[in-house]
Symmetry: C2
Subunit: 238 residues, 2 copies
Amino acid sequence: MFSQSLTPNTTHPAVYVRTPGADHGEELDHGLARAALRKVTSGENAFLEGTIRSHIFKVESGALALYRTLSDGRRQVLGFAFDGDLIGLGARKCHTVGAQALKPTTLRCLPVPQLKQMVSANPGLATQLYEAISEELADAQDRFFNVSQRRAIERVAFFLQKLSHRNEKHGEDPRTIVLPMSRADIGDYLGLTLETVSRTLSELRVKGIICLKESRVVHLRNLNALNELVDTPIDEDE
Amino acid sequence: MFSQSLTPNTTHPAVYVRTPGADHGEELDHGLARAALRKVTSGENAFLEGTIRSHIFKVESGALALYRTLSDGRRQVLGFAFDGDLIGLGARKCHTVGAQALKPTTLRCLPVPQLKQMVSANPGLATQLYEAISEELADAQDRFFNVSQRRAIERVAFFLQKLSHRNEKHGEDPRTIVLPMSRADIGDYLGLTLETVSRTLSELRVKGIICLKESRVVHLRNLNALNELVDTPIDEDE
DNA sequence: CGCTGAGTTGAAAAGATTCAAATTCAGTGG
DNA sequence: CCACTGAATTTGAATCTTTTCAACTCAGCG
């Protein structure tokens, strides 16, 4: 599509993949299980934008924000990574996004040469990586779809719905969402200011759709209403 | 990253790849060269969203818009494809986007089973597809980056810059851009209304950055100013 | 107990959309 | 060849949404 090759100054977005329902293959998991553990403290970067992609990582625990920085200092959060997610994948030599821990986080680190070795030893792995990235792209398009032409309330609903589905997949309560990220991080992810995020959460609370126990703990009181916000972009009644 | 696995109702975005500077490998090109030709008229769909992905296509001539449709009928254009671009790639069985011709277009059609055969015969092809998709993802992130948090004028500048770079790569005049798509298509691509796109082009004209010979022919009079709009999102002076 | 950072809320301003009207253009049929 | 029709585009004005700037609250911490 239009997008890829036209970009001139596109730093290349290493592909940041999270394990889908099915995982990336035993081969990969096996290699990762024996990989070194690394701890990063809250606020620390697992890797920086533009640095050599020496390892790929699997998040054991914690949470990270994947971001790019604008020339003027603003940043765009491209996604969040949680336990079980793979990050740092990609065909390019350098990381095209940074990965900053949102809280204390532990990572398995698999050196890229070792990954390459595994791929050449096991051709099926390349296909798995292809599929994983295909998922990633699907996700990026979905996010684009749900952000670029939508109102703040729809964007925030989309965000909460995603987290809810994630909880569901992990056998956790889909109605209780613990946010490891700040309002600013959410805003940078959804293309909104932190004030708008805050206001919108308040609006959802007033409408009885969510309940804010603490500022970082969201309880979804009305999942149907939330889903409707995501599905139907116009003609939402009060 | 966060995006991929959380999505519940994510239709899957077959990966729509265009040939990067380097192509997708002789193997693939070879297969495509012998593939059947198909003509689609302006407005016709090469394939529809949700239908079985029976073939992948290479655009021989013409132009297409790749889009998804919202439940309320609105649509999101995810990209445009021009001659040389590959479309229809992806790991999923069904197309997750539709591809509508913007003008009379010819396509090479390679059946997916044949592609699979080629991949199994040539493991390197899987890696090439991986890299191609990695590019595609890079592009999607770049677009997201340049749309979600930016003003209309910056979005339109980004769009024009992309087309200019594309021309450059193809040995065409980077200052003269012929738009095969309507203002509405551009709006659906940039997350703006068609009126805003029109107004913004007028604004760029008034500022002397572009010159509109015809409504579909844009001449870039001041590339530096255009690039600045893309690079620096704030503090643009009049 | 005062700091500091995160979050909330208010009010004014900026930006985009919506609705509507006018204009241009391409293609058609007389 | 020209008027006519419909689609695409441009432009205007009112409205709506989000941002911006600022004030205020709250919790954790030295």
